[in-house]
């Protein structure tokens, strides 16, 4: 089980790869935007899966069914994109991995960037034949609140909060460190270059053989992106606390806070 993540394809694929495979039947492109946006234009042959549709029936079984209806079988190569700096696409890709799908990656740019590059889009919906997909839960990449509480006792576990700095200062899971999701991107790509990602972790003193758990505000999107940023440099043991801070608060778990400073008043928002 532990070696599963190593068998996974690289987390992002280049624009050129996608262009060359667009008409390939073995490839399924997933567009994670709202339906209206998708209808106005998308990468050719992409199917639409708004994140809300995935979240509405979140059991592994219903998730498998959802992907089956999109024509995704065990060996289908899946590439996911969005227009939300890769965060929503990450959450979909992570879910596929979680149900045991191995061949899934993120497009390295957003839909807007794809268009800015002058690449092809259209409004046609592809014909889809439902197929079968097996269910092999990959629980190694998932963290629950209970797991988190126990993991915190262990050495060499790093908990990363990917929300914006002010939200983190105000409330966070005790012992977490903050890497805002904006830190994860580079100009024009949804993820930093490997070199600068390594450098960021090195500066922060995060060892690449640590077990790293990411979380964000509510459903694991921003932290899903962080999951892939960490995977992009080959960190073996990364988990997503998918229900994130929203659940943590609901469960009335302990909360850390930066005290005695009125930092919100520094914001111009």
């Amino acid at each position: 089980m532990c070696s599963l993540s190593k068998e996974m394809s690289p987390p992002t694929v280049s624009v050129d790869t996608v262009r060359s495979k667009i008409n390939d039947d073995s490839l399924r492109l997933i567009d994670v935007r709202r339906e209206e946006e998708y209808n106005q234009g998308h990468i050719p042959n992409a199917v639409n899966l708004p994140l809300a549709s995935l979240l509405s029936g979140d059991s592994p079984e219903s998730t498998v069914k959802l992907f089956e209806e999109m024509g995704i079988g065990d060996s289908t190569e899946v590439i996911v994109y969005d227009d939300t700096f890769g965060a929503l696409a990450s959450r979909i890709a992570w879910t596929l991995q979680y149900i045991g799908h191995k061949n899934v990656a993120l497009l390295e740019v957003t839909y807007s960037q794809w268009k800015e590059l002058g690449l092809k889009t259209n409004t046609e919906k592809p014909n889809i034949k439902p197929v079968k997909h097996s269910l092999n839960l990959n629980s190694d990449i998932m963290a629950t609140a209970e797991y988190l509480e126990n993991a915190k006792e262990k050495d060499n576990v790093v908990l990363i909060d990917n929300r914006e700095r002010l939200n983190y200062l105000e409330q966070h899971i005790p012992g977490s460190i903050n890497i805002p999701y904006r830190t994860l991107a580079t100009d024009g790509k949804i993820l930093r270059t490997k070199e600068s990602m390594r450098n960021l972790l090195k500066n922060r003193g995060i060892s690449e053989d640590a077990e790293i758990i990411t979380y964000c505000g509510s459903v694991g999107t921003l932290s899903g992106l962080a999951y892939y940023a960490l995977k992009s440099i080959g960190i073996p043991n990364v988990k997503l606390y998918v229900n994130s801070f929203k659940e943590w608060k609901k469960l009335e778990k302990p909360i850390g806070k930066q005290e005695n400073a009125a930092y919100w008043d520094l914001s111009a928002d």
């Binding site: 914006e164 700095r165 002010l166 200062l169 460190i177 903050n178 805002p180 904006r182 830190t183 100009d187 450098n199 960021l200 500066n203 922060r204 003193g205 930066q258 005290e259 005695n260 400073a261 009125a262 930092y263 919100w264 008043d265 520094l266 914001s267 111009a268 928002d269």
Partner: protein
Amino acid sequence: MAQQLRPSKSASKKPKIDWSRREEADNFAHTVKLYRQGKIDHDSFRRFRLQHGAYGTRMTDDYAMVRIKIPAGQIYPHQLEKIAELSEMYSIGSAHLSTRENVQLHWVVLEDVSEIMHGLADVGLTSREACGNTVRNVMCSPLSGVCNDEEFDTTPYALATARFLLRNPLNQALPRKFKFNFSCCEKHGMTRIVDVGLIPQVRELDGKKERGFKIFLGGGLGNKSFVGHQLEDFTPEEDILYTSIAVLQIFDRMGDRKNMARNRMRYLVDEMGWDKFKNLILKQRAVVRTTQSVIIKLNINQKPNEIKRPISVSNENGSIPDGYARWLKTTTYKQKQEEYRAVFVTLESGDITANQLRAMAEITKDFSAEGFARNGFSQDIILRYVHESDLPKLYSRLLESGLANSGSLTMASPVGCSGTTSCNLALTNSHRLAKEIQRKFLELKLDEDDDLRDATIKISGCPNSCGQHEIATIGFFGGGARVGNDMYPNYSMSLGGRFDDKSMLGVTCMRVPVKRTIPVILKIIELYKKNKQSDDTLSRWIDRIVHGNESSEIKSVEDMKKILSPLVIPPSKDDDPDFYADYGSDTSYHTMTGKGECAA
């Protein structure tokens, strides 16, 4: 819809000077590591950190504030864009513009500071010597070059001075920080409240015009403030570098390195007496002049900036949005260059979001004929060389980005230091108070009142004057007071401060609880209206009161205090719990400070 002024994206003009050194970023990252490993002691690390422009943060060692120097205040569109990006990646998604032409990123994880330094190196900026016992950012009036009253543009002199001093061994370990300020004229600078202040002047000798400066030394605001002294009638331009070096050498040699509370140069001047200090400087200058080679002349780039009005696409016959006349009147300055204006963009306490920074970058490219923006002295951004016929369009664009507040050139744009939002020394949330006052003034349209135009409000969160309260018409600095066991934030109010050719520090009037500051200010305005003379202004009226020259019912600061005192009586906590809380906080108030770092 945004009006597209130009068919394609305008290019960002590039700055003439690269202030950065990339290797300093790597060195910083490495040093942080050594510090965390316990291989460098706390005090040494702190000195190093401050030297590189990373300041401590309130109640924590985990975060820093990175102070980016903008020498002479000149900031280019691509630099604004980079700061926007860095603020989202490593800070709070907003940046803060200071009163000293710095741009500050707060709540940065100490380990990420080097990443910011790398980003700054991409666009030629630095935070080096922005803090610590060094020569801080060299300031220049945002109107230099366009001011109607100036003798000549001092911007090239400010830039050359900054360039000469940055990383210069001369100023790496002074007794204390050291500040330069170049003005355009008597009105628009702050030359008398800094260590070295310079105002351009021209004299005629044998029918030839000669450039020079009035140089003021030994001023400064702080726990104890002083107004600077003029060194001599006329300092020729070739002497300003010699003078600066002489002053730095004397301060370095004779300044107090022991008593942290009294080691700014102004204390040395005060203790020694001005005449003695002046003679020392003049003698030292003679030594510097004879012992230095010509190589150390200031490298003054007198090549004028290209002024090229961005090409406007045909006016879309757009209607002018509401509020234009008010904005035009209260935020723009007619330049000496015909048909051009300088537009002062006011920000609440100097805070600007990443998106606003990006908008400002685009707007600068689209509207400024000189292609860059300037930072001002009031936590603002100034866009110069805007053609008058482009002003309505500019107003629309600023409006879209929430940058079109009126009143930047009036009393309705108070200054507030960072206060308890990030500073270790702060006792009150001065930052938020300035925002509250600005909102109230705009709501009451007081920015449109010509009588109030030349008055100022400035607020510091402690006695240390970062908010420059002592040179404000109405100034406040924060403290705490109590009723029984219950504490509340309480500001000391001073009146009549000014920083022009009659510079003086405000006269202490009384203490005002934070939740009474706005009623007190409004009451002062009401009293002024009742007692004003024809053709009067609030600042002139207050000036007469603090000098005992007023003939109406309020003849002195004491009279003012008497009339205002009913407003500041604390209610019981049961009657008015809000009175006991600071702005931005719903918990009961208590003072709490950490160690100040200015002196490290």
